[in-house]
């Protein structure tokens, strides 16, 4: 049970406080309700590029990192398709330093042309390092554009191409900031060795005077129901063939979300899971095979992905996978198998909740979804899933017409 207090400033900033006096540290987590899904299709990768610019100096503070390091703090940030999250950990005594820094960059950035130029280069190197120079780095670029036709999940957070990042202009950076980086589009979580009254006073002092901004109303195109299986084949200079298949699943708040999450654990994700046991260990067709989903806010994808043992044909591997799925569909999982994945989930949540930082970001995320208190309901939601629900959800999910298949062939001369 994660306890917290919650209040909203008059400018609309939502503030959550989670006290844990067993640590000498404090965590300040600021979540902005904007991600890669909010980007213009001709300007992808912008939300992430923007995250880099948030460290390039704000209205009154030329350097973000230096004062924080002086206060003994560390920070980082990440952007996903759904959101952008910034976090600081520092000695609790120096909590106000974090308020000073975070509030100034919420008030306004310095918008430096030099910072934009340098970070465009840095992000291009990040793009190359993780997506161009790494074998299989572009699998998700292909799969997203195959599985989504209209929803902005069709591109990756890093962006569709280097050119989109290179073309970003300072005016666009300003427009983006004033549209999304406002108190009413943000959630502040303060956790660790802190107290509610102290946080309230600091929040009023530093964030209170910032103009509210306009609440962003998200109107994303809805992905139409897929009606026929889709297929794509590509060749790349990698050593092993890779098979990747996806199926459209529910959104994060959908009624079948928890059943879907548990069924991916039955199929993949541990040594005793079905696909690993059957296809890697028994039939020796895959070097590895995984089943997972990203838990995205809008309807996501259940994914099964594996590299093939050399000499095994794509068709044979796919057929064997299909047989496993058929077996899963024709006979509902046993109570014991369900109990196993529930136990795994219980354990994973306990280990995750050990870190104050992780508790803070979870609180922010559940508040974004609708209510931070939902964080404490997760275990009971998983516990209530039945084998009948798993069977029903699986049958709905793994329909042929809901399926996207990518054959990623190894070809040294590609």
């Amino acid at each position: 049970m994660i306890t917290f207090d919650r209040f909203t400033l008059s400018n609309g900033l939502r503030v959550l406080v989670h006290t844990d006096v067993s640590t000498p540290m404090a965590v300040v987590n600021v979540l902005y309700d904007v991600g890669a899904r909010d980007e213009d299709p001709d300007q992808t990768g912008f939300a992430h590029l923007f995250e880099h610019l948030m460290f390039g100096g704000s209205l009154h503070i030329p350097d973000y990192d230096e004062p924080l390091q002086l206060a003994g703090g560390e920070n980082n940030a990440y952007t996903t398709n759904d959101l952008t999250n910034y976090y600081i950990q520092l000695p609790a005594d120096n909590l106000e330093t974090a308020f000073w820094l975070e509030s100034d960059r919420m008030l306004s950035l310095a918008f430096s042309q030099k910072s934009l130029g340098v970070q465009q280069k840095v992000v291009c190197e990040e793009f190359k390092e993780h997506y161009l120079n790494k074998p299989y780095g572009d699998v998700w670029s292909h799969m997203r554009s195959l599985a989504y036709q209209v929803h902005p999940y069709r591109w990756m957070t890093i962006g569709r191409e280097l050119a989109h990042i290179e073309q970003a202009r300072l005016q666009q950076v300003k427009d983006f900031f004033f549209k999304y980086y406002t108190p009413c589009n943000a959630i502040l979580v303060v956790a660790g060795n802190v107290h509610v009254a102290q946080v309230r006073a600091l929040a009023e002092k530093w964030f209170g005077p910032i103009p509210s901004g306009t609440r962003y109303q998200r109107k994303l195109p809805i992905e139409p129901t897929q009606t026929a299986a889709r297929f794509k084949m590509i060749q790349a200079p990698v050593p092993l063939d890779l098979l990747c298949k996806t199926w459209h699943m529910t959104d994060r708040l959908g009624a079948s979300y928890h059943a879907t999450d548990l069924l991916t654990d039955m199929l993949g994700g541990s040594a005793s899971s079905r696909l690993h046991q059957q296809l890697v260990k028994e039939q020796k067709l895959f070097v590895h095979i995984d089943c997972y989903h990203f838990g995205s806010s809008d309807p996501g994808l259940v994914t099964i992905e594996g590299k093939l043992v050399e000499g095994v044909s794509m068709e044979k591997a796919e057929q064997a996978l299909q047989e496993q799925l058929n077996a899963f569909l024709s006979q509902p999982p046993s109570e014991q198998e369900l109990e196993k994945v529930k136990n795994k989930t219980e354990s994973a949540i306990a280990f995750e909740d050990m870190s104050v930082m992780s508790r803070a970001s979870s609180l922010a995320y559940y508040e974004l979804l609708g209510d931070a208190a939902w964080m404490n309901l997760e275990l009971s939601k998983y516990a209530s899933v039945t084998t009948a629900q798993i069977a029903a959800v699986s049958n709905e999910l793994f329909r042929t017409e809901n399926q996207n298949t990518l054959y990623y062939y190894a070809n040294p001369s590609a």
Binding site: D20, T23, P24, M25, H60, I61, E66, P67, Q69, L70, A71, G72, G73, E74, Q89, L90, P91, D93, N94, T97, W100, D104, L107, G117, V118, K121, V122, C124, E125, K128, E129, L132, N133, P135, Y136, K205, W206, P237, L240, S270, A271, S272, S273, V280, K281, K284, V287, K307, V309, E310, Q336, E339, K340, K344, E346, S347, A350, F351, M354, S355
Partner: protein
């Protein structure tokens, strides 16, 4: 109106009175040492069985790592699948790790499941059988994984730079190849298992919210195992004589993996602790000289880091980055320029003060939580360092001065002493 230009007052982290929470120590009936940290709010445990069974002890490449990896591959009474199923059923994680001197098996679980798990761990530590079919599958899959890794310039660079520093025959410098996987035999694994696990030596590191009866349980399942301390074989280093290497690995590569490295003494050397401070200034954090210049000023890379290798018998000072193919040369030039700057100019008080505070704040954060605490103790114990080493570290962070750091830079940060490797 608040003055947003003015930084709020801070407590300088250098003044913190940091204490490393002491462990409690027990001995099992067979003399096995148990080190425990009781902390945290969640009902979870981490138990590590740390054996003297690392790469240093093997006489054939990959035997130590493979023996360690295949501990879960079946026992006299359970197949690999049955073991996996039992471990997964209670949501536990049983990980293996093989390092240079040590090899370990680590359990993470909810406290309520120890009664099921401890007998299973005993079983893998005493009755593993290393079935031939599991070994064959392992060889096949590891060779294929290797073929994927060898396409990554950073992976290739990491192997090569270690080989230049220590020689391919030294445990710190040797690396795997398809033929070394092919050469593995079940008999060799069984012999290594017998000598270094069943008749070997281990220590126990326990952390989490510790149940009152844990020592009694550990004694019940592990207190009767035979213990013999194996001799640590000594391997001479054969560093490369050539200093500069350019490797073409991927004709279509758009980035180069850059590694610069030089040998450095082990943790017992008086230069080691001051070097941690100098390293932080140089390339040890986001505000470092390397990061500020090469990422934040020039945009040549997504990240650049320097660090001292965490090895027990010696160390090395390493600079590591991935940079655009066309700016690799410029990146290396800037790294050397930063070395020269540290040699030629004393670090300003302002910068040094920031680094002191940053390091102390980081240390405070690192001491947070049972797993972090036991890891720090383990590091001291494995390196034969006394508890006072922790306070010496803090003293050094607080008191080392700019002149000492400049002298240290002059001793160790000479471009001519560094191996230089670019893999595209």
């Amino acid at each position: 109106m608040i003055d947003r230009k003015k930084m709020p007052p801070i407590v300088d982290a250098v003044h913190y009175q940091l204490e490393l929470k002491p462990y409690t120590h027990h001995q099992l009936a067979n003399g096995v040492d148990v080190y425990m940290i009781d902390a945290g709010a969640e009902e979870v445990l981490q138990i590590e069985w740390l054996y003297k069974a690392g790469n240093c002890y093997e006489s054939q490449n990959l035997i130590a790592a493979t023996t360690n990896y295949l501990l879960r591959a079946g026992t006299t009474t359970h197949t690999a699948y049955e073991l996996d199923e039992k471990i997964d059923y209670v949501g536990a994680y049983v990980n293996r790790g093989c390092y240079n001197e040590q090899a370990s098996i680590t359990l993470h679980c909810l406290n309520k499941h120890t009664d099921v798990l401890l007998p299973l761990i005993r079983e893998v530590l005493t009755e593993s059988v290393f079935p031939s079919h599991e070994l064959l599958l392992y060889q096949q899959n590891m060779k294929q994984r290797l073929s994927v890794n060898l396409r990554k310039s950073d992976y290739v660079a990491g192997r090569l730079i270690d080989a230049y520093l220590f020689g391919e025959e030294h445990p710190y410098g040797k690396y795997s190849s398809p033929s070394s996987f092919d050469a593995l035999t079940r008999d060799a694994l069984l012999a290594f298992y017998e000598r270094y696990y069943k008749q070997g030596h281990f220590q126990l590191f326990v952390a989490g919210k510790i149940p009152g009866d844990i020592v009694e349980k550990l004694n019940r399942y592990f207190g009767d195992l035979p213990i013999t301390i194996p001799d640590l074989p000594m391997h001479p280093c054969h560093p490369a004589t050539q200093k500069k290497f350019n490797i073409q690995n991927d004709p279509a590569g758009v980035q180069g993996a850059i590694r610069l490295a030089r040998p450095f003494p082990d943790r017992h050397h008086p230069d080691f602790l001051p070097a941690l401070v100098l390293n932080t200034v140089f390339g040890g954090f986001f505000g470092s000289r390397l990061m500020s210049n090469i990422r934040e000023e020039k945009g040549y890379t997504y990240g650049i880091h320097s660090y001292l290798l965490n090895l027990q018998q010696t160390s090395a000072w390493m600079i590591s980055t991935e940079a655009g193919k066309e700016v690799c040369e410029a990146t290396i030039k800037e790294v050397y320029a930063e070395m020269n700057r540290l040699c030629n100019e004393p670090i300003s008080e302002e910068e040094l003060n920031l680094v002191r505070n940053y390091m102390m704040g980081g240390l405070l954060g690192d001491l947070d939580g049972p797993f972090q605490l036991i890891a720090r103790w383990k590091n001291l114990l494995l390196n034969n360092l006394p508890p006072a080493h922790f306070h010496r570290t803090i003293d050094t962070i607080r008191n080392v001065n700019a002149q000492q750091l400049q002298a240290l830079a002059q001793r160790y940060l000479n471009p001519a002493d560094f191996y230089e490797l670019v893999v595209v």
